[in-house]
């Protein structure tokens, strides 16, 4: 059982595209760009406290990340509201990650890139708490990313955020 921001404990395990898992029907509220933003928001909330550094990084990514650059301020607001509703409704960040990972399109390198951005956000305050580590492990599993690759991503982002 895992505990995430919001106070509840939920078993968080999902397998995106796993043969035994039914494919989630597309959610029109969660187009690709909203899935990406939702995962970044979830990463910032993973330790239950959104640090100013984490907010700054998300704001910067909204301007520069190819997957989100076309979002209008209204779309961003709408997406953040949907994210808050999901987190509030299920009382956990993990429910948001589950939903966003299921809706994230399978595109070359998209899962890896989003995971790297999330690690960068989680490490923006220079520390990776156990709950953040667990969040990233679960996200990597949900996106079916190889452990060797996610370890490399965490290593490089730790180097980067050390100073």
């Amino acid at each position: 059982m895992r505990s995430f921001a919001g106070g509840s404990t939920l078993k968080f395990r999902l397998f995106r595209g796993h043969p035994s898992t039914p494919v989630a029907p597309p959610d029109p509220r969660f187009p690709k760009e909203c899935c990406v933003l939702a995962l970044l928001v979830a990463a910032a909330h993973a330790d239950g406290d959104v640090a100013p550094e984490e907010e700054i990084e998300i704001d910067a990514l909204l301007v520069r990340a190819r997957s989100m650059i076309a979002m209008s301020p209204e779309q961003v607001d709408r997406c953040v509201t949907e994210c808050r509703d999901i987190m509030r409704g299920q009382n956990s960040v993990s429910s948001l990650v589950t939903h966003a990972c299921r809706q994230l399109p399978v595109e070359d390198g998209l899962g890896e890139a989003v995971f790297a951005h999330c690690v960068d956000i989680a490490l923006a305050d220079r520390r990776l708490l156990l709950v953040e580590r667990e969040f990233l492990d679960d996200m990597a599993e949900a996106l079916r990313l190889p452990k060797a690759l996610t370890d490399k991503i965490v290593t490089v982002m730790s180097w980067k955020n050390a100073f």
Partner: protein, 144 residues
């Protein structure tokens, strides 16, 4: 041998050196992309070393780097920043990773950027395997 004059020259602070190298990564291809500028200022606003200095000082460093860039003299500033950066392997890796992230922000590395990253990696004495790993992950991260 260090000359008396250079021995007396005040060394730049860690923050100044690091920020100059990060700014240079955005400007080295002679074309400042919005993605790169956004990343530079995000780094300045959130990186512990840089948040210790005021916004005015950050702006002053940026203006200085930009002026050198316009005079085609960016590399002289880069060389001084590399010389004055404290010799700490972890700081070198962090600085290189920030610079590589900025350079990759527009999803392509041109020959000027590559030459700059090569210089940085060599002069900061990065292990080739570490440098390759940083480049690989920054490329992957900035693809989407």
């Amino acid at each position: 041998m260090t000359s008396p004059a250079s021995a007396l020259k005040p060394r730049w602070s860690l923050a100044r050196c690091q920020f100059i190298l990060i700014c240079a990564a955005a400007l080295i291809d002679r074309e400042l992309k919005p993605e790169e500028q956004t990343e530079v200022f995000a780094i300045a606003s959130r990186t512990p070393t840089l948040t210790e200095i005021s916004q005015e000082v950050i702006q002053g460093i940026w203006d200085d780097v930009f002026a050198h860039h316009q005079r085609n003299d960016l590399m002289s500033l880069v060389r001084t920043a590399i010389d004055d950066l404290p010799k700490d392997p972890k700081l070198a890796l962090s600085t290189y990773a920030h610079a590589a992230d900025v350079a990759h922000a527009d999803r392509r590395i041109d020959r000027r950027e590559l030459r700059f990253l090569n210089t940085l990696a060599k002069d900061l004495k990065l292990r080739p395997a570490d440098r390759r790993l940083v480049d690989e992950i920054m490329d992957l991260k900035n693809r989407h």
